[in-house]
């Protein structure tokens, strides 16, 4: 296998709070897959899916502009992010700077206030796309020392990881936005069983679920219900907001719809950490799931140390 490849890493705000388990597990498995991550120095928030409302369109774009300018100062390695919203904003602004002279000019005029500039010569990539195109399933399989035999997984991709960029050249052209297969491929590479799961790219309500769950609980119910009906032990997802919404609102759904859901929701990288024989908590961060993924915890104990 070739030497590791270096990426400039944008962890995003959720990596320091609600999605520490994605951050921890991704950083744990990355070296095993030949991915070297160098954090963007002093990165800031991308504005997520709500910043533009209060802040305005250009200030929202300037947030990503600053991150990109800082990343460029560190070199010309591809920028990698694991968060759907971070990817959508950073990649979206990057493409606009590349393709739209007016945006490039205005963002740079704003960046000038801090002595920064960005020409649009970086590539922004989602961690999953890098795993598919740069690492490849074979290399993932080679790292598996503790296959997740018998674990039934409902692969829930969500929206912004694949929409709107997945099927475009600029988005790495790695999968489709209606029937993505990469997540099921990860699951099976880890030795688990990827179930047929219909709401694979259904919407969890995104930030609307965060501030007005009354409007969107029925959307999350559909996602959870299909996984339970398919006999899943866990739901796996790549998206921090999906993970949080689908996990934390199960009690509210039970209350509203008279159901009895209590299914764990984990990140693909947590599955990989366990399958790679790494530590259940230190690496896979299984102790950071609100609903304990019992079967995965059991599998982690089997690890030959």
């Amino acid at each position: 296998m070739s030497e590791g490849k270096k990426y400039t890493f944008y962890p995003g705000c959720s990596s320091q709070a609600s999605a520490t388990h994605l951050d921890k597990s991704l950083r744990a498995v990355a070296p095993k897959l030949g991915i070297e991550l160098e954090e963007i120095d002093d990165w800031n928030c991308c504005g997520a899916s709500v910043g533009h409302v209060e802040g305005g369109t250009l200030p929202q774009a300037a947030l990503s502009g600053r991150n990109l300018a800082k990343a460029r100062q560190q070199g010309s390695n591809d920028v990698l992010t694991a968060c759907a919203a971070c990817y959508l904003n950073t990649h979206g602004v990057n493409e606009k700077i590349k393709n739209d002279v007016r945006t490039k000019k205005r963002v740079n005029e704003a960046l000038g206030a801090a002595g920064l500039a960005y020409e649009g010569d970086l590539k922004v990539r989602h961690a999953c796309e890098v795993l598919v195109n740069d690492v490849g399933m074979e290399k993932i399989k080679q790292q598996v020392t503790n296959p997740l035999t018998g674990l039934k997984v409902a692969g829930y991709v969500g929206c912004q990881t694949v929409r709107p960029f997945a099927a475009t050249d600029a988005g790495g052209d790695y999968d489709t936005y209606d029937q993505p297969e990469f997540l099921d491929d990860f699951v099976e590479a880890c030795g688990a069983e990827a179930l047929d799961y219909d709401p694979k790219t259904s919407c969890c309500g995104g930030s609307v679920s965060v501030h007005s769950p009354d409007k969107t609980l029925h959307l999350i119910k559909k996602i959870v219900e299909a996984a339970v009906n398919a006999g899943a032990d866990v739901i796996a997802t790549p998206c921090p907001l999906c993970q949080q919404n689908v996990e934390m609102y199960q009690d509210a759904i039970n209350k509203k719809f008279g159901t009895n859901f209590n299914i764990p929701v984990v990140f693909y990288s947590q599955l990989m950490a366990v399958a790679f024989g790494m530590d259940a908590n230190k690496d896979a961060a299984l102790d950071r799931n609100m609903i304990e993924p019992l079967k995965l915890v059991e599998l982690a104990k089997k690890t030959p140390k």
């Binding site: 709500v50 305005g56 250009l58 704003a110 609307v208 501030h211 959307l219």
Partner: protein
């Protein structure tokens, strides 16, 4: 006799502003593509939260073209969008529907049409954290948002969500202690202030509806 004097719109009639469409085409990102909309309804039909939309994107775009500024900027369609991008990838005319709804939300706030909208309140709390610390402090954003409804309502919402908050603390996914902040927060604020200034300047140059 001046015929127009007797044909003034009756009180209560919907106000139409025919410059609105032109303004949206020019100023809302992707807005120029609205003129390509053929009213097929793929967007509204693909919407996961369509049943909660008063108009849906298809109808909203026709209303924009008809110049129904007030009805557009007070429509819940721009607030209920979950940004799933189904409509964007499926639109046969490649209209960036989600991005246009985002742009309209920004305009609605700037023009004072949406002071009480949950999304606008949430965004205000969010933007406070971004400009102050350079990062999102989920805990503070949530608290600011709850208390934007007043003290009593803030307490009520806080208590209602306490079980979730406690589980977040227990699983060590709620950051406790001082907010994470970027070292260059002052620089970031300068960039954001400049961006705001550029936007205001260009809007002045390009005209308001």
């Amino acid at each position: 006799m001046d015929a127009t004097a007797t044909t003034a719109a009756p009180a209560g009639a919907r106000t139409y502003d025919l410059n609105f469409a032109r303004w949206v085409y020019r100023n809302v990102e992707g807005g120029d593509r609205i003129s390509l909309c053929m009213q097929c309804g793929m967007c509204s039909g693909s919407c996961p939260i369509g049943t909660a939309m008063d108009q849906g994107p298809r109808k909203l775009f026709m209303m924009i073209r008809a110049g129904m500024k007030e009805a557009v900027l007070t429509s819940n369609t721009i607030w209920n969008c979950t940004q799933c991008y189904n409509c964007v990838v499926r639109c046969p005319r490649q209209i960036p529907v989600t991005n246009i709804l985002q742009g309209l939300a920004t305009v609605a706030v700037q023009e004072g049409y949406a002071p009480k909208q949950p999304t606008a309140r949430f965004s205000k709390a969010f933007w406070f954290s971004v400009t102050r610390f350079g990062r999102t402090d989920e805990r503070l954003v949530t608290a600011f948002y709850y208390f934007s409804y007043g003290l009593m309502e803030g307490v009520r919402r806080g208590l209602q969500n306490l079980p979730i908050a406690l589980r977040m603390v227990k699983s060590r996914r709620m950051h406790l202690g001082a907010p994470h902040r970027v070292k260059g927060a002052a620089d970031l604020r300068a960039v954001l202030a400049k961006a705001e200034e550029i936007e205001a300047r260009d809007a002045g140059r390009e005209g308001r509806p």
